[in-house]
């Protein structure tokens, strides 16, 4: 308990220090938001496993470590070849690069973009696009007592901003690359995507760690989709082995809009993603998916809430995990159908492939339904590779290990194959194969 208090106090002291230095100087509308978020964080502190939302994820190691915000963009030069290697998309993609959570202009190439579309660092957007940012920043995420969203709001000063005016569409995906280079650093990128009516875009958040020591990324993404807008959101998480990665994604959808999210998790020591999708207008569509391939002592926690507040929306969730070593996966999927949200069609699936006896899975798919003319289903399954399938492949002459890798790949490909953007699919497929190869090599060595 004492540790929790001191860590909380350390963050509070950090806030005071930054404010004294003028580092948190912000537009007048943001100051009260910062203050109230900090007050909520101060009152609540870090959650423990006694909190229902955190019963399977123990934050003690995160709380026990001291992390400090990076002072400006570190002098670490990222070699063009490194950047090239870390890029998901082609060279022509608009790209913002963040080093230790701070925007790095010299590594970024925010163009070319269609006329009217704004892509910039959040700090810049606060001055140039004040109105749009003021209307949406910190107005969506953290609705459900989320201490990490509060922490982000209190310290918000850097991140990415994308604004798509009505009827604009960015054909090329937009890549946001977050590189962590320094141990002990606290990175709090804040992403705001505002999509006007009938606009379209694809956004990729790519997290990479160049150090295997401990550092802490607390990312918050707010997505606002206007009527008829269509947004595809990808998160590729390849943090370093010692990383703590906490992500909050909140998507607010207006009528007839569509939102898809795909989160692929490979790295990090402790991962928690809190994703909320809220339908604010009729006939919205949401497709949420996640793939996590983890081993060792990695911990992956997905908390997904889909809030059907209005009628005639449909949502799909598909989360699949491959667990090896002593990895642990937590899935908490919550579908809420509010009174009068008739004609809701919601589906939720969570599957885990358990490859080693040391793994642990805690799955909690929940339905809370207050309307009767609805179609809601959920399913969860935890199991291993079917011995019949392995036998079949072996009878065809494949080695045992090859057969297992092939079947595991098949399990994971259900997510990969759905990705519409070819370079993202190819990148993910490559990462997945490399990961499974590495896992196999480790097994064969031991």
């Amino acid at each position: 308990m004492a540790a929790l208090t001191t860590t909380k106090d350390r963050y509070l002291a950090e806030f005071e220090a930054l404010e004294r230095q003028g580092a948190l100087r912000s537009p007048s509308w943001l100051t009260p938001l910062r203050r109230s978020a900090l007050a909520r964080f101060a009152a609540a502190g870090f959650p423990t496993t006694r909190d229902e939302d955190w019963r399977y994820t123990n934050l003690a190691p995160l709380v026990a470590s001291a992390f400090r915000p990076a002072e400006g963009v570190a002098a670490v030069g990222l070699l063009p070849t490194t950047l090239e290697r870390l890029s998901v998309g082609a060279t022509g993609w608009p790209r913002l690069v963040f080093v230790n959570g701070r925007y790095s202009a010299r590594h970024s190439s925010p163009g070319p973009l269609p006329v009217g579309v704004r892509l910039s660092s959040l700090a810049e957007a606060m001055t140039i696009d004040g109105d749009v940012v003021a209307r949406h920043l910190a107005r969506h995420a953290g609705w459900d007592a989320n201490v990490f969203a509060d922490l982000s709001t209190a310290f918000a000063r850097d991140g990415a901003f994308l604004h798509l005016p009505a009827k604009t569409s960015s054909e090329t995906p937009i890549e946001l690359l977050f590189v962590a280079t320094t141990p002990g650093v606290l990175a709090q990128p804040r992403i705001l995507v505002v999509a006007g009516p009938h606009s379209r875009a694809t956004v990729v958040e790519h997290y990479v760690g160049l150090t295997d020591d401990a550092y802490f990324t607390n990312a918050v993404t707010e997505v606002v989709a206007g009527p008829g807008a269509s947004l595809d959101h990808y998160t590729l998480q390849e943090q370093g082995a010692g990383a703590f990665h906490v992500a909050t994604v909140h998507a607010a959808l207006e009528g007839d809009s569509a939102f898809s999210a795909c989160a692929a998790t490979f790295g990090g020591r402790l991962n928690r993603t809190t994703l909320t999708l809220r339908f604010g207008g009729e006939s919205g569509q949401g497709a949420l998916s996640g793939l996590y391939v983890v081993g060792g002592h990695q911990h992956v926690d997905h908390h997904v809430t889909v809030d059907h507040a209005v009628p005639r929306c449909s949502s799909r969730q598909l989360y699949k995990g491959v667990l090896d070593g002593s990895a642990r996966a937590v899935f908490n999927g919550r579908v809420i159908v509010r009174p009068d949200a008739q004609k809701t069609d919601a589906n939720q699936t969570n599957k885990h492939l358990l490859l080693s006896d040391g793994v642990e899975v805690d799955s909690k798919p929940q339905l809370e339904i207050f309307a009767n003319d609805v179609k809601c289903t959920h399913g969860a399954a935890e199991g291993q590779l079917a011995p019949e399938a392995i036998f079949y492949l072996r009878s065809r002459g494949l080695a045992d290990a090859t057969a297992r890798t092939l079947l595991t790949l098949g399990f994971a490909r259900e997510i990969v194959d759905r990705i519409a953007v070819e370079p993202i699919r190819a990148y993910l497929d490559g990462t997945l194969r490399a990961r499974l190869r590495a896992a196999r090599a480790t097994k064969e060595m031991s």
Partner: protein, 490 residues
């Protein structure tokens, strides 16, 4: 389709207006304590029941623990139910029908009005013995009134008696098993029960004996403001078998009554216990006034290899149902089953489900839960499947379906699945739907009335559970659902 609409509307209306058929009060002289709870009350309960010292000690330990719980955390708040706080000092903790100092030697000596009550309940007793072939240990406001078929069972070495009697005549068995599955520290309501339980049933099946008939208890709360705290303990020795039926009703009253029971089952190697419940406590009126708070702890332990425990429940009554019949699968190859139908109409709330704790290897569990919500009812399935790391090759299958019969009701599913090794398989499926217009249309074009169609579809929805009930109970359960849907079925 306007006709369908009207049928559904009518069904809903009848659900909302359904009357409680069992809402009569028996005017029987009762030996009742003043409301309130302290150590003296517990000593008095224990003294009235002429209990041995160990029993009183156990009750007092439970009471002291409960006082501490009430002072600190209080009653559990995690359940998806809402009710005003319960004043535990306003409850009557002991109420027994007054009778001569010696208990009745036979049914003839029992107060005829009491027998009349049982007649009204339609439970098989006395002359219905032969017909139903059921031995009944009827618990009427806490004290067992009549135990039938006892001699017949005694020949096989089966002990089936009231809990009070078991405490007096078989203290060694009670002392050995009481609290071995649900310790007195288990949870707020179980602890309260451990301190104040008044009576209940005790059942012991010796090694290798197959109980030749279904054993049955009928619970009924009669005295106003009295809580019912019964305690059931069933021990099935190696290779034995028993099927146990439990049914519950209560008169209608405007205030809420607390019912906090504890049921413990122990199945040794190769033994099988089948426990069936039809719960029809008074559910309160359409505005949610009155009704029973049914806060029950039920748990079985498959202690030996290949043991099998199966819970089947049909929950149609109570203002609030809070119960999670669970199985601890300790023995290798043991099997746990849970089959449930829960209906909430008017303003009823149910938060019910099960826990399957897999400890032994090759343990298997099946969970089938059917929730029906109507009116402003709220129905929650809450279940835990926990497979411990050393429970290799464990297997679970869970299916929970909800049917919504109105646009003001709610259906909620909160499954917890915890798997701790890689050789086990856990599967969970759930769906929520309403009776579709297509289904109704199909039935109607085959000549069924709308009401019959609704009834048929609901019975079909519950079939997987009903088929696990003993025949008499299956009939009663179907009837109970029928009462709930009265007006739409003839």
């Amino acid at each position: 389709m306007p006709t369908t609409m009207s049928t559904t509307a009518k069904t809903l209306e009848s659900l909302a207006n359904r009357e409680y058929k069992w809402g009569f009060v028996s005017d029987i002289e009762a030996d009742t304590l003043q409301p309130g709870l302290d150590e003296d009350v517990i000593r008095l309960i224990s003294a009235k029941k002429q209990e041995p010292e160990f029993m009183l000690e156990w009750r007092l330990r439970a009471y002291r623990h409960w006082v501490n719980m009430e002072r600190t955390a209080g009653a559990p708040k995690w359940a998806n139910v809402k009710h005003p706080p319960i004043d535990y000092q306003q409850i009557v903790y002991y109420s027994a029908p007054k009778r001569a100092s010696e208990g009745p030697a036979s049914l003839d000596q029992v107060d005829p009005r009491l027998l009349e009550t049982f007649e009204k309940l339609g439970i098989p007793l006395a002359e219905q013995k032969r017909l139903a072939g059921v031995a009944v240990d009827a618990v009427f406001d806490s004290v067992s009134v009549a135990t039938t078929f006892k001699e017949k069972l005694a020949e096989l070495g089966i002990i089936f008696c009231s809990f009070s009697e078991a405490v007096r005549s078989h203290p060694d068995l009670v002392q050995k098993y009481l609290g071995s599955v649900v310790p007195y520290t288990d949870n707020f309501y179980a602890t309260l029960n451990s301190a104040v339980f008044s009576d209940g049933s005790f059942c012991y099946i010796p090694k290798g004996v197959r109980c030749p008939m279904e054993l049955s208890t009928y619970f009924r709360i009669n005295t106003a403001g009295s809580g019912q705290f019964e305690r059931t303990l069933i021990v099935a020795e190696e290779g034995s078998y028993v099927s146990y039926l439990e049914g519950c009703t209560a008169p209608r009253r405007d205030e809420n009554q607390l019912h906090a029971a504890v049921v413990e089952l122990i199945a040794q190697e190769g033994a099988q216990i089948k426990y069936s419940t039809v719960q029809n406590w008074y559910a309160g009126d359409a505005e949610g006034r009155g009704g029973i708070f049914n806060f029950v702890t039920k748990r079985g332990k498959c202690a030996g290899r290949g043991a099998r425990i199966s819970w089947t429940q049909v929950e149609t009554g109570s203002a609030i149902t809070w119960k999670y019949p669970s199985v601890i699968l300790q023995g290798d190859d043991s099997v746990g089953e849970f089959y449930s139908v829960a209906l909430t109409a008017n303003r009823q709330q149910a938060d019910t489900g099960t826990k399957m704790i897999h400890i032994g290897t090759n343990t298997r569990s099946t969970i089938i839960s059917k929730g029906i919500s109507a009116g402003r009812g709220n129905n929650t399935y809450r279940g835990l499947v926990k497979i411990l790391p050393r429970a290799h090759h464990a297997r679970n299958y869970t299916q929970c379906d909800s049917l919504l019969l109105g646009d003001r009701c709610g259906a909620h599913t909160f499954p917890y699945i915890e798997v701790g090794n890689a050789s086990s398989v856990a599967e969970h499926e759930a769906s929520t739907s309403k009776i579709s217009d297509e289904q109704l249309f199909y039935c109607k074009q085959r000549g069924l009335s709308g009401d019959n169609a609704v009834s048929m579809i609901i019975n079909g929805f519950c079939k997987e559970v009903f088929k696990n009930l003993p025949m008499e109970f299956a009939v009663e359960a179907t009837k109970l659902l029928g009462v709930s849907l009265e007006g739409s079925i003839g």
